[in-house]
């Protein structure tokens, strides 16, 4: 679960990390008050989860209240990666001469957490020059480790104290809150060696959320995503017109690829999960049937532990409930023939292979 910048900065404060003085506003009306209580220049920052916020125009630095209001209005209505902000972070600009990079992140390939630090910040971590990557123990790091990183970065002595304190705090935050990523980019270098995190990116391990009830209420949920998660489906909205439903993440992903290759636009990715029972098929069909933008439904089921007859029975139940968008179903595997019989005479179009079903759903456009 990725946190919004303001949520991540609240977490930074809890862990003793410095952050610029800021106020969160949820509408344009609040902007003048916020501006008035901060020292200009002030940055107005769109609170979205999508990347590339700066480039997309989601951040503005302003010097007077009228300009603040004008920029706030613009940023509130600016979608970034299809996402509009519910709030803006109004924050004092921090005068600085240089920017650094620091993160604690999972290195999947090396199966370990690492810290990545660079004395020159940048947009792209991959191509950062002179970066230092050090493996960190699951039990944490100590001052000696922190000083070693500072030394490898060739930091001037005046910055070492601040850097050590920041890396120790950031690592403790990442470990205790079970983050996949805790990142400061940029970490501004001010006068007198003071270091100030200007942005904060935190991604919490979804699978560890049961140990962190404090994160449970942090995100406003999309109605459909909320419903899907209550049902235990893996669900991603994609914005097109063909709902793609199947059993197994890999199978649904490969179905998205078949649709994409054929020039189609999936409306969603919905994985029923392994061993799906009839009720789950029904819940999934009801959900995608009322998803805005959907005009046909593509189902790809490979029956193994999931019984294809359960799938057919589930389809029959929702068909009997009334209007259902056209269903193109590839149902294969155990008891496939019985499943076909159950659906004979219904509007459901049945196919033996995924490419056949995809071809048909494309023609149904």
């Amino acid at each position: 679960m990725r946190l919004f910048e303001y949520q991540a900065k609240d977490l930074f404060k809890q862990y003793g990390l410095p952050v610029p003085k800021s106020i969160l506003v949820s509408d344009v009306g609040g902007i003048r008050g916020a501006f008035g209580s901060l020292k200009p220049p002030v940055a107005i920052k769109s609170q979205v989860l999508a990347g590339g916020r700066g480039k997309a125009g989601g951040i503005a630095v302003v010097n007077d209240p009228a300009q603040a209001e004008q920029e706030a209005r613009r940023i509130f209505s600016l979608p970034i990666g299809g996402e509009r902000p519910n709030s803006l972070l109004v924050e004092e600009a921090y005068p600085h001469e240089k920017e650094m990079y620091l993160s604690v992140t999972l290195d999947r390939g090396d199966r370990a957490f690492v810290t990545i630090a660079a004395s020159a910040g940048g947009v792209d971590v991959e191509s950062m020059a002179g970066k230092v990557i050090r493996r960190i123990s699951l039990d944490g790091i100590d001052s000696a480790f922190a000083i070693e990183v500072a030394t490898l970065l060739k930091l001037p002595p005046i910055q070492v104290g601040a850097f050590v304190s920041i890396i120790l705090s950031l690592e403790r935050l990442a470990r205790e809150k079970e983050c996949e990523l805790a990142e400061i980019n940029p970490l501004a270098v001010g006068k007198d060696g003071f270091l100030m995190p200007l942005d904060a990116k935190v991604i919490v391990d979804d699978n560890a959320l049961f140990r962190h009830p404090e994160f449970a209420k942090l995100h406003p949920e999309d109605e459909f995503e909320g419903e899907a998660s209550r049902q235990g489906f893996a669900f991603v909205r994609l914005g097109g017109d063909i709902a793609v439903v199947g059993n197994g993440a890999g199978l649904v992903l490969s179905t998205l690829d078949l649709v994409g290759d054929a020039g189609g636009n999936p409306a969603c990715f919905l994985d029923l999960g392994g061993g799906a029972q009839q009720e789950r098929i029904e819940a999934a069909l009801r959900l995608v049937n009322r998803l805005p933008g959907v005009d046909r439904i593509l189902i790809n089921i490979y029956g193994g532990i999931t019984r294809t007859t359960d799938v057919a029975a589930g389809m029959n139940t929702v068909l009997a409930e009334g209007v259902m968008k056209p269903i193109y179903a590839r149902v294969s595997g155990a008891e496939e023939e019985e499943a076909r019989k159950l659906l004979a005479g219904t509007p459901v179009k049945m196919y033996r292979t995924a490419p056949e079903a995809v071809e048909a759903v494309m023609k149904g456009a």
Binding site: L49, G51, E180, F210, V236, G248, G250, G274, T353
Partner: protein, 290 residues
């Protein structure tokens, strides 16, 4: 890698749960010697005629099992995994989904210390058709004995591809669900080396997906080691959006890291034949073995 042979005893952890019961029966049906179950507080019960013990230690003492299939819920998987690895289990297959990353890392560390192997978590397990060994939840009907080693990050997609291979006359020497999480107990590189050493394996099929760099690492390994067996790959998620978890915790693209294109081109660069659809996999296997 210590894999069970026909008749070797295996354990099921959390045998008395819904999935534990169902799959104990299905593994027995396949011919696998499920010799004992473990469920704290349920010692003395039995499932499908298989005795249940309170601890892994008891089950290992009674049966000599060295392999375990773990159906313990995510909250307790770390503790159950530690118990197994600390009491003589050398192959731990973790089916459980949603295990926290840091718990997985602790288990990987412990397994390395004990000289044990973990398969998964978040995987369908492994199957060795010629030995009637099935440590997992895959439907037996998709698989048949043969000479293709199949390694995959998915579940159902693995069954689909196995079914197509089987239907085309290519049975499997082994099929392994590596796991859909960011951390895998055993990596594709390790499995690839394992396949290299098994004579009956004539070709390897790798089913990957977006997220991480396991396929890129595999490509580098293939090039560096001068791998000699033909390899066919399929990568799911060419049309997946960025920054979205696509069902599996590990199936997520960050920026340009973890894209299907990067994986496909790395594998092709290493001489691997990459299928564009699951249906193309058996065709490429046939071509490779010609």
């Amino acid at each position: 890698m210590m894999l069970p042979k026909q008749g070797d005893p295996i354990l099921v952890q959390n045998m008395t749960g819904r999935y534990g019961r169902l799959h104990t029966r299905l593994m027995l049906d396949y011919g696998t010697n499920v010799a004992a179950g473990v469920a704290p507080g349920k010692g003395g019960q039995s499932v499908e005629g298989v005795p249940v013990y309170n601890t892994v230690q008891d089950a290992v003492d009674k049966t000599g099992a060295r392999a375990s299939v773990c159906f313990v819920p995510a909250e307790f998987t770390l503790a159950a995994g530690e118990e197994a690895l600390n009491t003589g289990v050398r192959l731990l297959v973790i089916i459980t989904e949603r295990v926290p990353i840091r718990d997985e890392l602790r288990l990987v560390e412990l397994a390395q210390k004990r000289g044990a192997s973990i398969v998964g978590p978040n995987c369908p397990g492994l199957i060795i058709p010629s030995q009637k060994v099935k440590l997992g939840i895959m439907p037996a009907t998709s698989f048949a004995p043969g000479s293709v080693a199949l390694y995959s990050r998915s579940g159902t997609l693995t069954y689909e591809i196995a079914g197509q291979l089987t239907g085309s006359g290519f049975g499997q020497s082994i099929a392994v669900g590596i796991g859909g999480d960011p951390i895998n107990g055993t990596t594709p590189v390790e499995w690839m080396d394992f396949a290299q050493g098994i004579d009956e394996t004539k070709a390897v099929v790798v089913v990957g997906e977006i997220g991480g760099d396991a396929e890129e690492r595999l490509a580098r390994h293939i090039q560096k080691s001068g791998y000699r067996k033909p390899i066919v790959a399929y990568i799911a998620g060419r049309h997946a959006p960025k920054e979205k978890k696509m069902g599996h915790a590990g199936a997520i693209i960050y920026g340009d890291y973890g894209t299907a294109d990067s994986k496909v081109s790395a594998l092709r660069g290493a001489g691997v034949k990459v299928a564009m659809t699951p249906m193309e996999v058996p065709l490429l296997v046939r071509e490779s073995l010609r």
